[in-house]
Assembly symmetry: C2
Homo-oligomer: 444 residues x 2
């Protein structure tokens, strides 16, 4: 009998692992159990589905159940995994429709249960018109609500990437948007000086931005009509809660699997948990920060894909390692672009790292084009060894993906001095003769 | 008396050196002698001036004579430097208008004489309608010709960056363009497989592309009417010759300054020539290729700026080194983008480097957007030490500047294996979840 790989979770990490395991090992029996209806979908595309930028929701599915079937990967949707029995090497699953339980044995188990949107237990939280955005049903519910109820005023609670992307897509529906953030500035994983450029831009786009503002409760009869915050009351007919996610680790924890940073499942760089033959990958798992070498939980679609691939290869008999992450992130808000990688000032301070930081303002393309626009680049360098620590970019066309220059340098633990002469690409429609990133590098 | 820095040449390297020297040393006497009328202009912007993309030609000037004057940098335009007298530490200059000669003494001399367009001595070469594009008068002459003569058919001879950028700008004037290249494919510093994608695109834009085609002579009475090639005759009323440049090194050579790669002035990484107190920088000087560690001559605006800055700092008493280049280059042709850095297959073969190469085709942004377009990424890796050797990218929006990821990795001599998990930025409007460059990296 062939070896059995059982995967719990069918989005990025689970399906990446299955596909990779199949490529490496044709004999493996591979089964995916997911409590969702949809599999292998691009979660990061959901704001754009809501914004009507896609032809149809099917476009978000990378591979269908049928396509996996052709590769000999069986998918069981709408199935809750309720227990891991590590001694017996099986899991107990429950059919969500029939409630029927079943025991599924494994030789190797991959936990790829992902994360869920954090929903605080506030008064009125169950009112109609209050949403989170994590999966396809969420996005369909939001789009149906927008189409049916034509909300005029929306409040986005939480100014991280998803919150900002939803601001863009709500503006696209001609909805007036208020963005509220409990921290003292928006985009908490960037520094205040860089975030302030985004606040200014959002304000220019008609968005009302409120910081140090915390939701206390929601008011309304059937549908939400007001948000009560520490600062007053905001009338609204749509609320998006985007205040972070929590890893889905309950069955792992119950089975005695060790949890780590932020309660995510602790894995090594082979994606192994502390229990033999049990792996974890994706938004439910920890990873290593490549700048600090510390365990972190920074759930990202890119990381989920890479961790899934690594787990799949190792499970199938290969030998793969996933080194870790830099916390790279980018987003577009209408035509502003933001980006960050590595450590921010706040993170350096929390870690007691002595740093130098410089910020420059330049243009995205040669200044003599009428459509040249501002770009700000901020870099952080270790005061003691002069290694690059991180960077942040805010600007317009061409700003966001420039962060990859900094990510690549961080990936190879470059000192700032080794980067001074870098032969970055220049042509007037793409860059000033000194690329903004290179200008920033040359400030140190 | 303060020390005297004399600079021959007033475009990128010369003015960068002057500005840097002034910042480092307030007491230096700084004089620039240039045989041109214009100084400190953005040579790479000239095709866009011709294409009517700039408000006016003044926008191309980074700093005016007056602005330099305020910094105590004296500029003498329209002045030929005719001789370097290294024993006496002076140069002989000649006023281009009056023909009057004068001797100017220096303590330090910087040769930043640039390069000139190569013009082969072919029959009919002096006919009206045949141009090269290197400086502001060239660009004005071309624009005036287009406005006055309204050419219908243009031939661009030489399919490097300038040729391709001019194709775009001639198409913008509704001129029918034939692009001819003597090599067996266009963009000779890329590989044929990548260049063929560009040929296909150009053809789709109505450009006639002819390779292995060499100009023999030009026909016409007063104005050019035909190009005679090894392959036949092409009717035309406009010709741009963009078949490379030659470093301006005659006075350096006559003074016994050693020349190196392609006849350019040999400099070390401090921009020193073999003669004490004489420096060279920019398009007239050599540099080091960072992948091969060999002397090369790859004239580029970015390099000229960096070399000028390095020379200025050293001359002013500082200590700076310019490590070298990767041969990074990008260009836009209408909405196609091309990029290259490091070594191509051809270069590896010429250098007897054993390499592995992989090419992938992906998308520039998430596939579910209707406007997602193709991107091709080619990488070369050293077969023996697995170090990255170079890369090429062809595609649309977002393709060109992605080469900076590869340039940054090359700058830090990364092995392909160290790049496998890179935390590159992802968000659907900017990239597929696996960035095309990362997909290419993971083929090895």
């Amino acid at each position: 009998m062939s070896e059995r790989l059982v995967i719990i979770g069918g989005v990025a990490a689970g399906t990446s692992a299955a596909a990779k395991a199949r490529r490496v090992n044709q004999n493996l029996t591979i089964e995916i159990y997911t409590n969702e209806e949809f599999i292998s979908y691009a979660g990061c595309g959901l704001p754009y589905f809501i914004g009507d930028h896609l032809a149809n929701q099917q476009d978000l599915i990378a591979r269908t159940v049928e396509e996996f079937g052709k590769q000999g990967i069986k998918i069981f949707t709408n199935t809750n995994a309720v227990k891991i029995n590590k001694e017996e090497k099986n899991i107990t699953i429950e059919n969500k429709t029939t409630g029927q339980a079943e025991v599924v044995s494994y030789d190797k188990l991959l936990i790829a249960t992902g994360a869920r949107a954090f929903v605080p237990p506030l008064e009125g939280i169950n009112l109609k018109g209050i949403f989170t955005l994590r999966n396809i049903p969420d996005s369909i519910a939001i789009r149906n609500y927008i189409n049916a109820e034509a909300p005029k005023k929306a409040v986005v609670v939480g100014a991280g990437y998803i919150g900002l992307e939803m601001v863009e897509n709500l503006l696209g529906h001609n909805i007036e948007v208020t963005l509220i953030e409990q921290n003292n500035h928006i985009i908490p994983n960037m520094d205040e000086d860089m975030a302030s450029m985004v606040t200014e831009y959002l304000t220019s786009q008609g968005v009302i931005v409120k910081t140090l503002e915390q939701v206390i409760s929601f008011k309304g009869q059937d549908r939400v009509t007001d948000i009560i915050t520490n600062n007053g009351e905001i009338a609204t007919d749509f609320v998006l809660l985007s205040i972070g996610v929590r890893p889905n680790t309950e069955i792992a924890d119950a089975a005695g699997i060790t949890l780590g940073a932020k309660g995510a499942i602790r894995v090594n760089n082979r994606m192994e948990t502390n229990i033999e033959n049990i792996y974890a990958a994706g938004d439910c798992a920890t990873t290593t920060h490549l700048v600090t070498d510390k365990e972190v939980h920074i759930p990202m679609g890119t990381t989920a894909n890479k961790q899934g691939k690594t787990a799949g290869e190792n499970i199938a008999g290969g030998k793969a390692e996933f080194k870790g992450v830099l916390g790279t992130g980018i987003a577009r808000i209408v035509d502003m672009e933001i980006a960050r990688t590595g450590l921010s000032e706040k993170e350096c301070q929390a870690l007691d790292i002595e740093y130098i930081t410089k910020t420059i303002k330049s243009k995205n393309i040669a200044h003599y084009f009428a459509h040249a626009r501002e770009m700000w680049v901020k870099l952080l360098v270790d005061k003691n060894n002069r290694k690059l620590l991180g960077g942040q970019i805010v600007g317009y066309n061409g700003a966001a993906k420039r962060i990859d220059i900094i990510a690549t340098a961080l990936n190879n633990q470059a000192t700032i001095d080794s980067l001074q002469d870098m032969d970055l690409a220049y042509s007037p429609p793409f860059s000033p003769v000194w690329d903004p990133v290179l200008i920033a590098i040359n400030q140190f």
